[in-house]
Symmetry: C2
Subunit: 321 residues, 2 copies
């Protein structure tokens, strides 16, 4: 529904030629160097969850949108909307977490704004970050060059953020050893750019999870995707929690992973490049681009069957990021 709102109402009202393709961030060359620019608001609930909080998420989320434009994240803005009565120690924890995440991601918070609204007019804290990154044009991943035989890669186990936030909601009281994967993916992307034009697509599978991102590749190229279910990296606690809650972990959000499309035969080279990269532990080639089944994602199941992996139709969970 939000997707339709954006496509049918918001973009048509504001597009002057750069909003339409809905990339992770826009690349501006009018300002000298090629600069990637993006924005994201964070309304996650609860604001603290295993493996992170709204502060670290707000830094990583925007850094990752820049990284998916093959841009090195450099500068962030920070807009805080605070609900009157937010405990000061919670604000301080969040700021500490922003600061730590920014240092780790190698970005600097260079401008900010703080608004306090009366109790009841917001829910604790909302954060907007926008970000600027430097693009090396030779690194641009070009979706147009994707073709049959290209290989699809994911940088590690999927579904952890979505499941961790879901389980930390008050209404659940299961005890799984499960943390959000919230992290900057730039170190992964930077290594992958060594593939040059062999790197064709980058996206972080946030809302809608791996499933949404794979379907996006299908829609963008008009080609098919064949994914091996057994090749998709999944942590045991994620599988266990997903099973118990009756949720498809492939639709659960990620905040520290990247899905890449690389040229035919380059999958194993990509895994080699990522071997020493801590942020890409558990990365795997999960499938291929096909000429059959145009625009569709076909999942080859463990028992040898095949099913269509549909685009998630509703959000599993509102306020996941």
């Amino acid at each position: 529904m939000t997707g339709r709102l954006i496509r049918d109402v918001i973009v048509p009202a504001l597009d002057r030629g750069r909003l339409g393709p809905l990339p992770d961030s826009v690349v501006l060359s009018d300002l000298g160097d090629a600069i990637a620019y993006t924005t994201d608001s964070f309304t996650v609930s609860p604001i603290f969850f295993p493996g992170g909080d709204i502060g670290s998420l707000a830094v990583h989320g925007t850094c990752n949108d820049l990284a998916c434009s093959a841009a090195r994240p450099m500068f962030l803005s920070l807009g805080l909307i605070l609900e009157e009565g937010l405990p000061m120690d919670q604000l301080e924890r969040i700021l500490h977490s922003v600061s730590e995440a920014a240092d780790e991601a190698g970005v600097e918070i260079v401008t900010g704004d703080t608004k306090v609204v009366p109790k009841g007019s917001a829910d604790g804290v909302f954060i907007n970050t926008s970000g600027l990154g430097r693009v090396d044009r030779s690194n641009r991943a070009l979706t147009e060059t994707i073709c049959e035989g290209d290989e699809i890669l994911v940088s590690g186990p999927v579904g952890n953020h979505g499941m961790a936030v879901m389980l930390s909601r008050a209404e659940f009281s299961f005890d799984f050893d499960l943390q959000s994967d919230s992290a900057s993916i730039w170190p992964v992307v930077e290594r992958l750019t060594a593939l040059g034009p062999g790197l064709k697509f980058l996206r972080d599978p946030t809302r809608g999870g791996l499933s949404a991102t794979l379907n996006e590749i299908g829609s963008a190229t008009g080609l098919g995707l064949r994914i091996e279910e057994s090749a998709i990296p999944l942590d045991k606690p994620v599988l266990a929690a997903a099973e118990m809650l009756g949720i498809d972990p492939l639709q659960a959000a990620n905040e520290g992973k990247v899905v890449a499309v690389v040229g035919r035969g380059l999958g194993s080279k990509a895994l080699d490049i990522l071997r020493d990269c801590r942020q890409a532990a558990g990365s795997a080639v999960i499938g291929k681009i096909t000429a059959e089944n145009p625009s569709k994602v076909i999942l080859t199941t463990r028992i040898g069957g095949a099913r269509v992996l549909a685009e998630p139709s509703g959000e599993l969970l509102p306020r996941i990021c």
Copy 2:
């Protein structure tokens, strides 16, 4: 209180050398050309008011922060946080207003994000915009060069935005012919840059009004300001409304005005430069920088007395922008 929160809690947690001076926007040269970058969140209530709405305000507010760094506003991001149940026609009116304001200000919305939160988790709509502008280094207004005898200028009547929003709150039912001044001030600033190094300071007197901005000049320079009360441009309906509500119009917010400090003797030249500028109608030289009364703003009243114009201690009205 918000000011103290920013200075004592937020900036210390995040500053890596560029946040401390709290300028309207930061100027980045690491990305090639000198680029100004700023962010602002808008939580104004009500979202529609005479002379504008939260959409036009979100465009003008960020353009004006860029303009105050003598940067030509070029690109904006738009982050929407929508409360579930916001009527679609209201959203469409706001987007239309964003679009119109952006065209008029000569900026392009190049990236965006939309989050929908459950009913009760936000109040209608909050908007964050960030913005990028191009800085011509020769145009930089340098506060350090302000000295005794410099002249203080305001680009038109003050208090209109604050009074218009206040009167449109449900709790008031007076009928004044009064509109927000919400507009881009770049056309005013661009003309003033013709003064070269004679242009020493630029600020848009938003929250806290003219009074807050004048006190800021005092604090930043350690010099005194002598302001002629009779020279301050004020529209009659603003005066009438302010009197009826017992409010100081000098503390009421503006969203389309600029306060400038120009060199000794340059005040009338500045007014000449602005004569054909529609956005600077009613501009006036209102006072001078003095060596006496360091860091204080002294108002010479109409009846010849003098009083200290104190920094506004509380916000007249929360959610004014």
